[in-house]
């Protein structure tokens, strides 16, 4: 029971982090980062190779770079930094004056390329087999299989998710968030009013990348294994579905979407008794995800929790009231 609940909490936390990042990039700034999963994977791989012993250990059955055996929290910090560092090269290549759908497809293709390259370069990150036996944080001090450890891990995940939530709130409720939203609405007009749209986009790309990297580190520290099959490009689509369903342009919607789609969905299908040939249930899941996206985009494109209208109080106080507005 402990194992089930703590797993649920950790996955929920990681999905919330991912959805917050996507919300900042897509919902607020209008960047369609279809290569998002690559950032999470980069974080996971980084945390793994930073925390693991050199690849000759454990009988040398896997090949990977580094292997610095660093203690917690360095692998997680490294993962966050790598997620952030990955953003400028990808962003500079893609965030140009392209049609938005071209940009999206270019990112999607980059995601597929990354997957192929990693798979076919076994010396780098052990190719298709992936990396396993990743040491859990602080496992040299505490017993990582004890109930206590699992609960602390999940608590830490939830706390980190809450911290990132606060950070995301600060961003979108600030004048900076307003500039981002203005750019999303009309990039040309925003530039004509002094907004540096390239800088704005890049900053959200970096912030989102950092959060994605962190989420990857948290996940890999828990499940102790990571392979290309974990981060295929449709995973990004699930996260986008979550943000579309939960509500774009606001963090509450992102959290709700994370809980409803990746978490709620996977959990719900767990309770369906296996029927039909093997693999039917996962296929059914994907069909439902696709249907969910189409259904919401048709009937309720703003999502369950729409972006709210911001009203400034008449008094001179500096608190803008927020009204739930379907607008």
């Amino acid at each position: 029971m402990t194992y089930y609940l703590t797993t649920l909490l950790v996955y929920a936390g990681v999905d919330v982090l991912a959805c917050l990042a996507i919300s900042l990039q897509f919902g607020i700034s209008g960047i369609v980062n279809f290569s998002f999963i690559v950032f999470q994977a980069a974080g996971a791989y980084t945390a793994a190779v930073l925390s693991m012993p050199p690849d000759t250990a454990n009988g040398g059955f896997q090949t990977y770079v580094l292997g610095l055996n660093l203690p917690f929290p360095y692998p997680w910090i490294g993962a966050t930094i790598v997620g952030a560092l990955l953003a400028p090269p990808i962003g500079l290549v893609v965030l140009r004056r392209l049609r938005s759908d071209y940009q999206a497809i270019a990112m999607l293709v980059l995601s597929v390329i990354a997957s192929l390259v990693i798979t076919n370069t076994p010396q780098f990150l052990d190719g298709a087999a992936g990396i396993s036996l990743v040491p859990q944080p602080l496992s040299n001090i505490f017993n990582p299989y004890s109930d206590g450890y699992l609960w602390v891990y999940s608590a830490a995940t939830v706390v980190l998710a809450a911290i990132i939530f606060v950070i995301a709130q600060r961003i979108i409720n600030s004048p900076y968030g307003r500039s981002l939203r203005a750019m999303r609405e009309n990039e040309l007009a925003a530039s004509a009013l002094g907004k540096n749209s390239v800088a704005l986009k890049m900053s959200m790309f970096v912030v989102g990348g950092a959060i994605a990297g962190l989420s990857g580190a948290i996940l890999v520290g828990f499940i102790t294994t990571w392979a290309p099959s974990t981060w295929l490009y449709p995973e990004t689509l699930i996260l986008f579905a979550a943000v579309i369903v939960g509500g774009r342009g606001n963090n509450y919607g992102a959290v709700l979407g994370a809980l409803l789609v990746p978490v709620g969905f996977e959990e719900a299908t767990r309770y369906i008794p296996p029927f039909g040939p093997p693999g039917l249930i996962p296929a059914f899941e994907w069909v439902c995800i696709g249907g969910l996206i189409l259904g919401f985009l048709w009937f309720r494109p703003r999502g369950v929790i729409p972006e709210r209208r911001r009203v400034f109080r008449l008094a001179a106080a500096s608190q803008p009231e927020e009204e739930r507005g379907g607008g």
Partner: protein
């Protein structure tokens, strides 16, 4: 060296397959402004439709016709029931990309339980292997190239000599103007999806014929070389897509010979990204034909 020449030979077949597919794909984009990411899945579905018939004893060539018809109807329905309504609703370009991705997911995962995970192959006689220097191609492969040539000629004839074709070109160039000139754009679009859907179906079948075996997983693999060829030749331009297919077809096979075969796909994908970033209007189109703001 002979390896490269042999690869060049294979490239001829690959480019034929990509050409058939890319022309259909790019015309869908040109006429409806829709990047149909579900195209690869429709190809596979058509390939399976042909397989169902072929497996029951029908000749492969007749099965190809079945595949073409299946592709035509499927694509037509796809546009009528999903793409067009969303476009009419005013969904923006990104929304349409997400929608076509969702559709491709649904198609793939509806197909999977029906046809299963294991790969299948067509029952066909590959015919004699013909040699020209280091190039070795089977009868079927040469037939595929012939099919491609016939398809290209038919498309050319359609676009230049028929009223429908001219209406298609007008709609692609300027839909509002076309409508105002009395062209029934809705009907033109319907026909466009039928025809390009047929191309999609044929492409799926010949791709299946060219491989030892195929399965649902191949659907997404096809898509990226097709997009690459289309973008390379200028999105929306059928002749550009043909040229793009030539380039991509040769590139994938030759790079597989030069580097390792696993990187065959990476070469095409990297080419796509490079073209999109450096010259999104394609090699042929004049600068700036692509709108900057999406």
């Amino acid at each position: 060296m002979s390896l490269i020449v042999a690869a060049f030979g294979f490239g001829l077949v690959t480019m034929s397959i990509i050409a058939i597919a890319a022309v259909g794909f790019t015309m869908q984009f040109g006429i409806t402004n829709m990047i149909n990411l579900a195209y690869g899945q429709v190809m596979i579905a058509s390939a399976y439709a042909a397989y169902a018939v072929n497996n029951a004893g029908v000749s492969i060539w007749l099965s190809m016709v079945v595949g073409a018809v299946f592709g035509a109807l499927f694509s037509f329905l796809l546009n009528r029931t999903i793409y067009a309504p969303f476009q009419r609703k005013g969904t923006n370009l990104i929304g349409m990309v997400i929608i076509s991705l969702a559709v491709s997911l649904v198609i793939a995962n509806v197909l999977l339980p029906i046809v299963g995970y294991y790969s299948v192959s067509y029952h066909l006689d590959t015919g004699p292997t013909l040699h020209a220097g280091s190039i070795a191609l089977t009868g079927v492969q040469i037939a595929i190239m012939a099919v491609a040539v016939v398809a290209m000629v038919l498309i050319y004839a359609l676009l230049h000599f028929t009223r429908l074709g001219k209406a298609m070109r007008a709609t692609a160039a300027n839909p509002t103007l076309a409508r105002n000139c009395g062209i029934p754009t809705a009907r033109v679009i319907d026909f466009a999806w039928l025809i390009t859907g047929a191309l999609c179906g044929v492409a799926g079948v010949v791709a299946g014929m060219n491989s030892d075996a195929f399965s649902v997983a191949n659907g997404s693999e096809f898509l990226i070389p097709i997009i690459a060829a289309s973008v390379l030749g200028g999105a929306g331009h059928p002749y550009g897509a043909m040229i793009g297919a030539v380039i991509i077809g040769e590139m994938t096979e030759v790079s597989a010979a030069l580097i390792t075969p696993e990187y065959k796909q990476v070469a095409a994908f990297a080419a796509l990204v490079l073209v999109m970033v450096l010259r999104p209007q394609g090699l042929l189109a004049k600068r700036g034909t692509l709108a900057a703001a999406g």
